[in-house]
Amino acid sequence: MNCPDCDGNINVPADASVGEIVSCPDCGADFEIAKKGGSIELKQAETVGEDWGE
């Protein structure tokens, strides 16, 4: 898939699931694998929040 930011090529593993994070090897941006209708898309990953963690 192409990076929504820089158009670089992002390799989404075949066994990846919705909710996983993938990074663009070119620009380093993080994206979340999401499902829209029947197809997979990349959406901007949330940034680390103040309440994130255990």
Partner: protein, 284 residues
């Protein structure tokens, strides 16, 4: 056949391991994104298919906590419960519960203004450790060794003025070796423990501390059981320090425990134990 749901907002290795183990055990398993789920005051259990039990695994504490409240409103069993998540997510509540239930814990001082926090520091003396009451991965956990540091930090808090900035949680700096302990308890079973070694002040694995498997002694087991009971029980990560004089003290109890590293070296299957506990908890 039992059906189990795993609630996530970001799929990490832990959530994948839980899904895999649940499926291996033959349970109908669904992973559900908290970010795309909606509830209302009119919602009914029959509107959803969360199954017999839910494992709440959101990385965002508040998201997971409020999602749990909605599930419990519908009458769906959640591991951990809202009460437990609330008790563990707030360090002040955790400290109060540990102390109330006679679990050895570092001395901790609470105040609700910068002025009163300074009075606490003047009375107790340096060093103390300041921690945000909500937060993980060691964020904003800082040693307070002198007045200049306190003045700077309290001034920043006045400017940021978040709701939690007005609550000052000051903890004694425990004299300990350069490590702490993390044990994972599932129900009444301590399934694994590790040392977290760091040359720095913080020992969070998320910050790069080294993990080493730790033998589960009777002392560790007893302390974990007491700490778990104090906050309400469930699937928890118990953090302990080895105090020079008092022995082990519990300083934190974690609600949505991370176990990716420990699972690789532990003798017991951590995610499998968690899934079995969740399913068995609703069979009782």
């Amino acid at each position: 056949m039992s059906k189990i749901s795993i609630i996530f907002d970001r799929v990490r290795a832990e959530e994948k391991m839980l899904q895999k183990e649940a499926e291996s055990l033959g349970y109908d398993t669904t992973s559900i994104d908290a970010k795309t789920t909606r509830f209302s005051t009119e919602s009914k259990k029959s509107d959803y298919d969360f199954g017999n039990v839910v494992l709440e695994r959101c990385v965002s504490y508040y998201r997971g906590l409020h999602f749990t409240a909605c599930l419990e409103f519908l009458g769906i069993p959640v591991i951990n419960t809202f009460e437990v998540a609330n008790n563990c997510g707030n360090k002040m509540l955790t400290s109060l519960l540990l102390s109330k239930n006679k679990v050895p814990t570092p001395k901790t001082y609470f105040s609700f203004s910068a002025e009163a926090a300074r009075e606490n520091l003047d009375k107790v003396g340096y060093p103390l450790v300041i921690k945000p009451i909500i937060g993980s991965w060691g964020r904003s956990v800082l040693p307070l060794k002198d007045k200049d540091t306190v003045d700077a930090l309290f001034e920043i808090r006045e400017y940021t003025d978040g709701p939690h900035d007005r609550i000052f949680y000051l903890q004694e700096m425990v004299k300990r070796p350069p490590r702490d302990l993390r044990a994972i308890i599932v129900g009444d079973e301590v399934v694994a423990a590790m040392y977290r070694k760091s040359s720095g002040f913080k020992t969070n694995i998320a910050l790069g501390a080294d993990a080493e498997l730790c033998k589960i002694t009777k002392e560790i087991e007893d302390l974990c059981l007491k700490a778990s009971k104090a906050v309400g029980g469930g699937i928890l990560g118990i953090d302990m320090m080895e105090d020079e004089k008092r022995g082990l003290v519990v300083h934190e109890v974690n609600n949505t425990v991370e176990f990716k590293g420990l699972a690789k070296v532990a003798t017991k299957n951590i995610p499998k134990t968690m899934v079995e506990f969740a399913v068995n908890s609703v069979r009782k």
